[in-house]
Symmetry: C2
Subunit: 188 residues, 2 copies
DNA sequence: TTTGGCATTTGACTTAAATCAAATAATTAG
DNA sequence: CTAATTATTTGATTTAAGTCAAATGCCAAA
């Protein structure tokens, strides 16, 4: 998996100065306070958010309950994927759960850049592949692991981050109730 | 979602004759008997399989049990994605569950073609996006629906196909036991 | 047409996790 | 510093789904 990140970095390292400055030109730094929204449900996702500092989450409402789909940290890319790709209103919110700094890249501008910079299509593909492999892994976890196993795995893979996130979000990310998560934690 | 298939078709329709014949040249038709394997676990997935006739499934073993990750029908693309993308041994098997005819495209040849045909990178991206949106939808279903709801949804979305597939595969695709599936079925 | 092997259903019981309710603990605002 | 929120834990109970076991149904090959 990490191999793939290397590929992405290698590609970016190979970009010429003109491509880099073009990318710079369509990106801008934004700051959000804890609790603020980078994207609301119902909005079409027209930007991607590269997290430079802080933590965000993606979630949607299901029968009055929040379902957290993704927790995003420094150097992650926050996008409501289906909305971004198909220009449909997003089912998901993207929310800052700490104060956050992001580099926000406009989708339309990026699409235009791709026309004259085929390397950027390649970049888009590699990033999408990365997210896709992450989704496959997550689906595998839902398909085969119990609540406790999923929590243990998360703890193993993201030990330091987890400390900064309220258990409600973690529980909903794992697809279990807050109480079950609390009980699981005592048994470890 | 279907909009996205239209995009893919529009892109392909716009290919020039040379691109098309190049694609033809790196594809070959293969036939598999019911039960045979298009890909074994442990093999690196070096082809993609466009289903022209019949049904296949992707699955892996977990604690001696089969976990079906995907059921693929006519006009679907069967690939062990993570293996294909990262050249790692596949965790998944791809198996014909009826007699099957596929158009098998060599990955390396396709990668080479992409160098001189940037349109093909675009195709690759669109196909990957399509799969990614499907994964997001499937994850949503695991995250929020009960066994019965998942079955009902499958029944609604794939009514005719389901008839041709043993319940064991459907149960494992839905992430529930065979017995639970059987009971769910009587209550509909 | 019978038989042996799958596929599916049904029954009894167990278990993981949800729900509802309340008690602590920890933060944050005034 | 204390009150007021918010976060987390603990307890009692229910429920969805799993497991184990057996019965029945359904073909397909001899």
């Amino acid at each position: 998996m990490n191999e793939h990140l290397k590929k992405i970095n290698a590609l970016i390292d190979g970009f010429d100065a003109e491509t880099n400055s073009a990318l710079q030109a369509i990106s801008k730094t934004k700051k959000y306070k804890k609790g603020e929204f980078l994207l609301y449900q119902g909005e079409v996702c027209k930007s991607s958010f590269w997290i430079e500092e802080g933590i965000t989450r993606k979630y949607y409402m299901n029968e009055k309950k929040e379902v957290t789909t993704e927790l995003l940290f420094k150097h992650d890319l926050a996008v409501a994927f289906s909305s971004y790709v198909s220009n449909q209103p997003s089912r998901e919110f993207i929310q800052a759960i700490t104060d956050v700094t992001v580099s926000c890249m406009d989708k339309n501008a990026f699409q235009h850049l791709k026309i004259n910079h085929p390397q950027l299509i390649q970049l888009d593909l590699l990033m999408t592949e990365y997210y896709t492999m992450w989704l496959e892994k997550r689906l595998f976890e839902f398909h085969t692991l119990s609540a406790m196993e999923r929590y243990k795995l998360l703890l193993k893979e993201q030990p330091d981050f987890i400390r900064h996130i309220p258990l409600t979000y973690i529980a909903s990310y794992l697809g279990i109730s807050l109480e079950t998560l609390s009980r699981v934690r005592t048994k470890i």
